[in-house]
């Protein structure tokens, strides 16, 4: 006698209850506040905002806490929320030349207008675990620039004055930038749409692809023209008003990669660009993005398409970690109907195989 197991509903409820318990952990340890996450795990918050494509530190912190620190899960939570928000309009393009810069480095010039500014970087820290940080030692206030900063033109603009780098490339008049959250992906994909996808693509995936270009899979001879991190103003054009309305400031990381030159019979040799722009502070992601952007422009420059990083469909279709994690992890859902179909076929084919074997050995015996 057999009675099929039921109770999916109760099992799910109990699993959620256990999850809530594990999330909270030992009740004797104080619960994490969102402000603590925002202030002390700021780069995790930034990654969730960037890949979740929603600039809201508090919501990102909530997502991180709800996801038990699993950042891809937190990114997913953020995305599933942002997609339900009404769309009021599109802001004006941000002007990163007018950025309130906290960090700015160039690898192409020793000194330049506005100077190099290290900002809050791990770069020259020695990676020695610091026992002091296990406690809550007093932290000094940071040094502050006394004088107002001089303007910081973008390095690419300095190169452009001499015509040494390709122009930024204006979209043909009348073209509206695409919107990957409102239009289905279509290939071949224009650069505006590719950049959007890269900007919220998975940091690890882009990092690996960018690395692959450095190791010869689609090499582009890159120099960091400039990386800048800081706050930019977001402005919205409102038809009733004669001036753009400032909505607030967001922190972004921009990377301009200067790559090996290209020329033709008609055009003199010029450096080419790879561009990265990411919400929040994430230099690794912005740099990886700019290498991927340049690799994906291979077709534009008539370069041979030989490497994964140069292949639009390969890069863009697999860069979204919410999609990737969903589809990889869905394999744990029940597939027994399909598996049954395969079992049936394999058993049938094995049966036929054994029959054939039997027939052959019978023939052999007869021959002997």
């Amino acid at each position: 006698m057999y009675v099929a197991v039921k109770g999916g509903e109760a099992a799910i409820d109990n699993a959620h209850r256990l999850l809530a318990d594990r999330r909270r952990g030992d009740r004797d340890v104080p619960a994490l506040g969102l402000a603590q996450i925002v202030e002390q795990l700021a780069l995790a918050v930034d990654r969730v905002m960037a890949e979740g494509s929603l600039y809201d530190r508090e919501l990102a912190a909530l997502a991180i806490r709800q996801a038990r620190g699993d950042l891809i899960e937190a990114i997913f939570l953020t995305r599933a929320y942002r997609t339900t928000l009404p769309r009021f309009g599109y802001s004006r393009p941000v002007d990163t030349a007018a950025m309130q810069v906290e960090r700015r480095v160039s690898a192409t010039y020793k000194d330049l207008p506005g100077g190099q500014l290290l900002g809050p970087t791990f770069d020259y820290t020695h990676r020695l675990l610091d026992p002091e940080l296990a406690g809550d030692a007093i932290v000094e206030a940071p040094a502050v620039r006394p004088e107002a900063p001089e303007p910081m033109p973008r390095v690419t603009e300095i190169l452009a004055q001499e015509g040494l780098i390709e122009p930024d490339g204006a979209a043909p008049t009348g073209t509206e930038p695409g919107d990957i959250t409102r239009q289905p992906a279509e290939y071949p994909m224009e650069r505006d749409v590719r950049l959007q996808a890269l900007s919220r693509g998975d940091e690890g995936f882009l990092l690996a692809l960018a690395y692959s270009t450095q190791r010869g899979y689609g090499r582009s001879h890159p120099f960091v023209g400039e990386i800048r991190i800081g706050e930019v103003e977001i402005e919205l054009e409102v038809p009733e008003l004669p001036f753009p309305v400032p909505l607030g400031r967001i922190r972004v990381t921009e990377c301009q990669m200067v790559n090996q030159f290209k020329g033709s019979m008609k055009a003199p040799p010029q450096f080419t660009r790879g561009y990265g722009l990411v919400m929040g502070q994430s230099e690794r992601k912005a740099m990886a993005m700019s290498l991927c952007d340049r690799a994906l422009r291979a077709g534009e420059f008539g370069e041979d398409l030989v490497a994964p990083a140069q292949d639009q469909e390969f890069v863009i279709a697999h860069s979204d970690n919410v999609q990737a994690t969903g589809f990889v992890e869905h394999l744990k859902l029940p597939h027994y109907v399909d598996f049954q179909a395969e079992l049936d076929l394999v058993r049938r084919m094995r049966g036929e195989f054994e029959e054939r074997q039997g027939a052959t050995s019978a023939r052999k015996e007869a021959a002997e």
């Binding site: 006698m1 057999y2 009675v3 099929a4 039921k6 109770g7 999916g8 509903e9 099992a11 799910i12 508090e58 919501l59 909530l62 997913f76 995305r79 599933a80 929320y81 942002r82 997609t83 339900t84 009404p86 769309r87 959250t181 409102r182 239009q183 289905p184 992906a185 279509e186 290939y187 071949p188 469909e313 279709a317 919410v322 999609q323 994690t325 969903g326 589809f327 990889v328 992890e329 869905h330 394999l331 859902l333 029940p334 597939h335 027994y336 109907v337 399909d338 049954q340 179909a341 395969e342 079992l343 049936d344 076929l345 049938r348 084919m349 036929e352």
Partner: protein
């Protein structure tokens, strides 16, 4: 922060629903053609049926009665979860009874009970492109569909026969819709393919991650690809359901012990239960009165 998250009827905002309905209408107008649509992130992961959920969310109204099955069963965890989702965000009546449902969302099966006029079957689709595993590039496969260039698919099926003596596709078996588009029926076992042909119900297919919707309007010809000398065949089971004794239905194999003991039972739980209600008893089953 308590007011941060409020949601529209059936979760999606009305603009999104309108966009999805347009894609559905286009799909119905061109049976079997994959319509791109701007799929949204849903509150369940990609791969869990986000395409089907978006289709259902866009067509469901307060008077609909929803049934959700996964692997043919109403009580698999994901079916339970999706049903609960719509109860929560749309406050609709749900059922496990195939005949009472106006919308049936499914993963991997078509109910055994023939569907009727006015019912809609919504399929969850992982990879909508039947040519994907022959040609990974979207730019190429769209061209192949446009030119009706399906030779590659026949070559693949032929190679299966040459290599294995059988067409080695047992689920997601490609079909041709109304003599034009080759279509992926979603990973249903090929056993279910004949049910799609001339079905009285509207069949809608949603692939969320891949951003595609396609459709088979009622009473549309759906033909499984085959060869004259290797005609399409469905799976057959050499025994009836162990619980309800049904024959010519799709069965799940249940492992009973670690000594090779196994039984075969209906994958369609509603169909099986109804038969047992009606007094049918299989080899290992018991009458419904005794179960209670």
């Amino acid at each position: 922060m308590s007011d941060i998250a409020t949601y529209n009827f059936a979760y999606l905002d009305e603009q999104t629903k309108r966009m999805i309905r347009r894609a559905i209408l286009k799909g119905i107008a061109i049976p079997g053609y994959q319509v791109p649509f701007a799929s949204r992130e849903m509150p369940m992961p990609y791969g869990w049926g986000t395409g089907g959920v978006q289709v259902t969310a866009s067509i469901i109204g307060p008077d609909d009665v929803l049934k959700v099955i996964d692997q043919g069963a109403d009580d698999t965890t994901n079916a339970v979860s999706i049903r609960a989702f719509f109860r929560k965000v749309a406050d609709v009546e749900t059922t496990t009874d195939t005949t009472k449902a106006t919308i049936i969302q499914t993963r991997h099966r078509i109910p055994e009970q023939p569907l009727v006029d006015g019912q809609t079957l919504v399929y969850q689709v992982p990879i909508p492109e039947p040519l994907r595993f022959l040609e990974p590039r979207e730019t190429e496969t769209r061209k192949m569909h446009a030119l009706e260039e399906y030779g590659l698919m026949h070559v693949k099926l032929y190679e299966d026969i040459a290599r294995n003596g059988h067409i080695a596709t047992t689920y997601a078996y490609p079909v041709k819709v109304e003599g034009r588009y080759v279509m992926d029926p979603s990973p249903t076992p090929k056993f279910d393919n004949p049910k799609m042909h001339m079905s009285a119900a509207l069949q809608l297919f949603g692939a969320g991650r891949e951003q595609r919707i396609y459709a088979i309007p009622p009473y549309t010809k759906v033909v499984s690809l085959d060869f004259e000398d290797h005609p399409f065949e469905v799976q057959t089971f050499d025994r009836p359901c162990a619980l309800c004794g049904a024959e010519q239905v799709y069965l799940d194999e249940v492992i009973l012990d670690d000594r090779g003991g196994r039984m075969f039972v209906c994958s369609d739980t509603d169909f099986c239960e109804k038969r047992r209600e009606a007094g049918h008893v299989g080899e290992l089953g018991m009458a419904m009165e005794d179960v209670r």
